[in-house]
Symmetry: C2
Amino acid sequence: MLYKGNFLYSVSPEKVAVAEGAYLRLTNGKVVEISEKKMTQASDEGFYDFGDRLVIPAFTDLHVHASQYGQAGLGMDFELLDWLRRLTFPREARFSDLDFAEIAYTAFAEALHRQGTLHACVYATIHPEATRLLMKILGKKGLKAYVGKVEMDQNAPKELTVPAQEALAATESIIQDFAAEKMVRPIITPRFVPTCSDELLAGLGELAKRYQLPVQSHLSENLEEVKWVQELHPESKSYAEVYQRFGLWGTTPTLMAHCIYLQPDEVKMLKESRVIAVHCPDSNCNLASGIMPAQRMLDGGISLGLASDVGACHSLSMPQTMVRAIQMSKLLRSKGEQGKQLDFAQAFYWATMGNGSFFGKVGTFLPGYAFDALVIEDELPGCHEFDLLQRLQRYIYTGDDRNIAARFVDGRRI
Amino acid sequence: MLYKGNFLYSVSPEKVAVAEGAYLRLTNGKVVEISEKKMTQASDEGFYDFGDRLVIPAFTDLHVHASQYGQAGLGMDFELLDWLRRLTFPREARFSDLDFAEIAYTAFAEALHRQGTLHACVYATIHPEATRLLMKILGKKGLKAYVGKVEMDQNAPKELTVPAQEALAATESIIQDFAAEKMVRPIITPRFVPTCSDELLAGLGELAKRYQLPVQSHLSENLEEVKWVQELHPESKSYAEVYQRFGLWGTTPTLMAHCIYLQPDEVKMLKESRVIAVHCPDSNCNLASGIMPAQRMLDGGISLGLASDVGACHSLSMPQTMVRAIQMSKLLRSKGEQGKQLDFAQAFYWATMGNGSFFGKVGTFLPGYAFDALVIEDELPGCHEFDLLQRLQRYIYTGDDRNIAARFVDGRRI
């Protein structure tokens, strides 16, 4: 397939490439060649001209709770632990009901698709059957996802805990059943340290290693939470060390959401283990958690990702998450944080190429990458003559899902 | 007219009244009676049932630049003074062209209407003809607005300054021509101290007094700006005092946008003069200005308003502005600010009843208030049973203009 269009894509955290009226050749859903120089359609090749629209890589969300999509925007007067206990846990318990789960997860998958988030690292709940259902629904929708059955065997309501061995067996069964899947794959998902016994954490570490599966969890989101972990694990020097001790830290690709209140040795551990610290700026505002010092961490050589963290964040829109990350960085600077601030190029890189790398060659249009793309129709109020980069920035700040005219995964329109 | 529906409206900054399946009687566009007790339709009275939808007061935006709507989302890597000089001033100069102005202002008026912001305090540009055009366009759209021709006679590009006497004469002519207008009225609008000579400020103060017109301007948005004002006005103890000296501070109803870096005596002046400090949280993030200590000011008895400040803010949505105000308050608390944080009831009050009071009896459904209302269709993903207040909160956080099914001003659908 040969495409013509305005292609905008990251080539590094600093640079968004702008290929105006360019040609993009696709084979087996992957970019073979992209250039502003004219390419001629081969005899066995299709051709399509995207015209004046913008074509950008699809977005990746590295941390989102599918089960919380329906509660987004509620309980926003709580901080983390109350928000979990009073709103989120009672709601998650309802996913034992597969009819409820089907309605809720279908709405979630449709919303991801609508927002152009075509790759996501997703939390389900403790329920194995509902987790399998979520995986199937995301797969049917044509999305790429890692989905984790959430692991909890303590410090949560009875209906949301499962004995460690039973939980591990159920997780292993899901892993085996989805072993051949390429689009929607399992990920090891201890909810966070407080809700997991040593036995459960150890078992999860073993599963991650045995099946070479990535890991996702939460780290240092809230001061009360950090204190609680210290009380539960007096033997550990830090929150991060608990994960590390059980093989859940960088043995396989690892995502740790939030990372706001890290100790210096935890920052060092992040860097050494290439664990990805996932910035969730809107969620951190809504639960009054604080601001991750993202630019300082980037400058320190830490790998960062970007995520909505719905339901503590109210919107699945990665553009809005990008905007919030930039805003938070500016606020840190206005409060005296040194160094440069996050800019548009960095935020766009995160939401596409940076985050995408967790899924392999995904998130940009360089040769060899999957053509996972969004076609943006940015109808302007008539009197503007903006360049392509300005149009992209304007769409990110002011646009919404109505501006997405088409979505592609592996070269197929979905 | 008799309406039945779910009416949600502020009765104070602390309380959102919920009238479920209630009756609301309207005479001459004003609420006469609202009650959950059944009312019977009079023989000469129309009746309409809004069903399960939510009916809420229309939003009011107390600070928005119509001329900047088309640039929203651009130039977001600048701080205030560079943003003015490099992006905003060159663009505002184009409003000397009435054809350009008509397209841009029509798009702005349509966007306000679409977002449910049916009352707004608006900045035009220095151009008298384009300002009149904006007033006519807003009037045709059925909106209530104060519109200010922006006053600048120094420290700006030549094409954006007008000699003081010429500017004052043009402003007075607009005032006289729109004297009989009830919906769209003039407001005295010195851009900010740096762009106004003493002569211009003095003349504007006289116009405000002579015609008893409200005043809007900017105050203490950015540290460089504050320093600049000190350099320009070594005779003044403070930024606010410059406005006060020229009769532009509380002589008539006065709006001062931003108010982030106030000195203690300026805070005292705000309170004594009942000048309204207008919080523009999204704009203050985007231009890295900082966070207004809104809750502390409220606790100190200062009157606050809420505004988008498009184009430094990227969205005209007052719900999104409410969310950002709540988020900023939470961030201040996470950084050690004492006291309670802004909650949903306060933010909703601001965007409706509080802001609305600048327009008279507008912004709630208590008897005597204009029926300026939005009908909200909050289609839920099927599996939720939320109460009305939760549905309202969910719409504010996660909804958008698509959820607004109808708009009323003075009881007329617009």
